[in-house]
């Protein structure tokens, strides 16, 4: 049998320039994000816990305090952030240096697949030459997310929030693109179903060595729209259990109130028009905690 050198024994470059191009992509990403003080992921692993609404209201809270905020909607298949931030239907500036993002409420810069698709009922589909889309679909979606981060003219930002879709693999995907992610908010609801999934996510992000991790207990009770009393919504104590088990602080407990969801769904995050009240106070606390942890030197 012929003995020939293996891949690692061959040092000579083939001239295919594949590695060079991958490195160029990384340089492009690093250059773009160099003007962003902190990229913060809002993730959970679990679906339906309100990550996007938390992202939108947190972005609005931070922007209303004078921080420069951008939001990447990493949920390519179920985008909602552009709508929640009042940026639906916006055009995107096309320049050789990059794509100018849409601008939503409070000047928040936004990129979302929703802005790029034909209609609000258009499913995410990629042009496939010969079927077998499942083989390369993940690759194209990673590229799309990379382009959202690296090819958008974010300018100088204090916070670039990334709304991460359900699935721990989506957290891994983001970490591969931004391995030095400085902060992550992990959203959970009180119930047992969320606890087990969110535990996996917390283990993942702790193993990744993300320096700042905060837990957000969303839908922590139900606020009666008539009397304002808080009732139990999901039985369970997942946030406290997760906090103890992973030694991660709970940064906010946000009650569920139908009006919050309705306002945010209409493109006007609740916190902008409802000063005071349990929900707005919770987002205020969350914004303060996040800013304090990431920018200990103070307000913008």
């Amino acid at each position: 049998m012929t003995r020939f050198r293996t891949y690692h024994e061959v040092e000579h470059d083939t001239g295919s320039q594949l590695l060079e191009q991958v490195l160029e992509q990384r340089v492009r990403m690093n250059d773009r994000l160099a003007k962003v003080r902190a990229v913060v992921a809002v993730a959970s692993g679990k679906g339906g816990v309100g990550k996007s609404a938390v992202t939108a209201n947190l972005a609005a809270t931070l922007a209303s305090r004078g921080y420069r905020v951008g939001v990447v909607d990493a949920d390519l298949n179920g985008p909602s952030i552009a709508r929640m931030l009042g940026a639906s239907g916006s055009s995107l500036g096309d320049t050789p240096e990059g794509v100018a993002p849409a601008v939503g409420v409070e000047g928040i810069r936004v990129i979302s697949m929703e802005l790029l698709q034909e209609a609000d009922d258009t499913p995410l589909r990629w042009r496939e030459p010969s079927g077998h889309a499942s083989i390369w679909q993940s690759s194209v979606e990673v590229s799309a997310l990379r382009e959202f981060l690296a090819d958008v003219l974010w300018g100088e930002l204090d916070f670039l929030l990334v709304d991460v879709p359900p699935g721990t693999d989506k957290i891994t995907r983001l970490l591969e693109l931004v391995p030095t992610l400085p902060g992550m908010l992990v959203v959970t609801t009180p119930g047992e179903g969320a606890r087990t999934v969110v535990a996996r996510s917390l283990r993942l992000v702790q193993d990744a060595g993300i320096p700042v991790i905060g837990l957000v207990a969303n839908m922590a009770g139900y606020l009666c729209p008539d009397c304002g009393t808080r009732h139990e919504l999901f039985p369970g104590d997942a946030p406290a259990e997760l906090s103890r088990r992973f030694d991660v602080p709970i940064w906010a407990e946000i009650p569920f109130a139908p009006a919050v969801g309705q306002a945010t769904e209409r493109g006007r995050p609740w916190v902008l028009d409802a000063p005071g009240g349990e929900v707005t106070d919770a987002f205020d606390a969350l914004a303060t905690r996040l800013a304090t942890q990431l920018f200990p030197e103070g307000e913008p």
Partner: protein
Amino acid sequence: MKFLCVPCDDVMAFSERHLPGDGTMAAVFECPGCGREMALLTNPMETQFVSTMGVKVGGREVPLQPMETVRGALDEAREEVFVEPSGSQDPRPGAVVWTEAAVSRLQSVPSFVRGMVKRIYTDYAREHGISTISPEVMDRARTDLGLEGM
């Protein structure tokens, strides 16, 4: 990915890329020792797989464009979402003029990728000292740059 010429024990060097237009790709590699050539042939799925990584075998003829992968791969994209900022002028010297026929042909390109395609043709003209872009120049650029469907 490397190709080794077993008799010479030399790494074969990338030589050229062909895109015949049917979604397939041929990349030719040559042994620097014996000169033997071989072609890597990829089917449309394999070609797409490489493309989705935002890289091109053998390197790029044109610079990486903003949101190139999304624009090239997204189906049912929204028309007219990308707009040239008003009052934006290409700051580089050497103005390039588009003939009416070239403009008309450019209009037939979906708006989702039109700005990107326009930049590629403009850069090509500038780099080749061409002051007027006509359909013929577009054809030549397409061939030279290996641009499919532009």
